[in-house]
Symmetry: C2
C-alpha cells in the first residue's frame, strides 16, 4: 500500500533553521542554492537549461509530525492542512518553483530557495507558462491576506524595534 | 535512505488507458473526476473549497520503468526526463493543477483531470496566484512547439481520416 521513493539528489541552501526559512520562493528571491543531482541521474538533466523556472519536489525531512488542522504562516486562523502549504502534512512532500540560473553538469544553480539545507530531492519538472500559470477565480483564505502582511510574514525576518509597528 | 509515503486517498477519473489520457489538465478540460480522500484525513480538507484550483500530487502507479532520455508527448526529439513531464521518471510522482468544482465531505469534484482512474493520492496543496503563477523567461524546447500542435498531441485524441492532415 505504501509507496517508496529514492532521493535523486540533495538541495544545498543557506537555510539551516526552519524558523528563519522563507515560506515560499516568492519571498526568497535573495537566496541562491545548488541542486546536486546524483551522477547516475545526471543524463536526465539534458535540455533543462532551456527553462527559466523549474519545479523542485522534495522530502520535507525536518517537518514536524502531521497535523490536520494548522495555523498557516500567513494568518492566525486555523485551517485544514490541505488548504495550506505548511510542512507538517500527512506525506511531507515539498514543492517549490525556483529560477534556474545555470547548470554545471549535475549541479543546478537556482534562485528563490525556500528550502532547508540538506533536503532530499525527489523530482524535477520544467515549469511552463502553457501548463502551469493559471488564472484562478478564488484564492481561498489567502485573498484575505494583504500583500504587505504576506511579504513580511513570508520572508520570516523579524522586524527590529520601532520599525516593526510601522511596516 | 528511501522515503515512504502512504496514500491519503484515490483519484477517480474517466481515463482507463494511458494511451488516450490527456497529458496535462490544460488539455483535459472536458473531463471531470472525483478525489476521494480517506475518512481519517477528511478534517485536513477544511477551507479548501475557497480555492478555485488545487495541486494534486500523486503516485503514477502505471508508469513504465524509468528512462533518463525520452521523447516527450509534444515533440519527436529526445530530451532529458527532468526537462519533460513524462511519467517514466526515477520517482514516478505526478503533479496536476485541477479546477475544484465543489466539495462533498471527503470527496472533491474536480475538472481537468489528466490522471488515470484509481491513481493513489499523496498530497493536496492550494494553488494561488501569489505563489504559483510565474512569468517565465524561457520555456525550453516547449517554446518550439506551436499551440495547435501542442493541443492536438496533448489531448491524445486521434484525428480521423482526411481531417488528420488538415489539422
Amino acid at each position: 500500500m505504501n509507496v517508496s521513493y529514492r532521493p535523486i539528489g540533495v538541495i544545498r541552501t543557506p537555510h539551516h533553521s526552519p524558523e528563519t526559512t522563507p515560506i515560499q520562493p516568492v519571498y526568497a528571491q535573495d537566496y541562491e542554492g545548488q541542486v546536486e543531482v546524483f551522477p547516475e541521474f545526471e543524463d536526465g538533466l539534458k535540455d533543462i537549461e532551456g527553462f527559466s523556472h523549474i519545479y523542485l519536489i522534495y522530502h520535507l525531512h525536518r517537518a514536524e509530525p502531521p497535523r490536520l488542522i494548522v495555523k498557516p504562516f500567513l494568518q492566525d486562523v486555523e485551517r485544514g492542512i490541505f488548504a495550506t502549504r505548511a510542512p507538517c502534512r500527512p506525506n511531507p512532500i515539498g514543492l517549490s518553483i525556483v529560477h534556474l540560473v545555470r547548470r554545471e553538469g549535475g549541479v543546478l544553480h537556482v534562485r528563490g530557495v525556500d528550502i532547508l539545507d540538506g533536503t532530499p530531492l525527489l523530482d524535477i519538472k520544467p515549469y511552463t507558462t502553457r501548463f502551469d500559470c493559471i488564472q484562478t477565480l478564488r484564492n481561498g483564505w489567502q485573498d484575505d491576506v494583504d500583500d504587505a502582511t504576506a511579504e513580511q510574514r513570508g520572508r520570516r525576518k523579524k522586524m527590529e524595534g520601532a520599525r516593526e509597528t510601522s511596516e
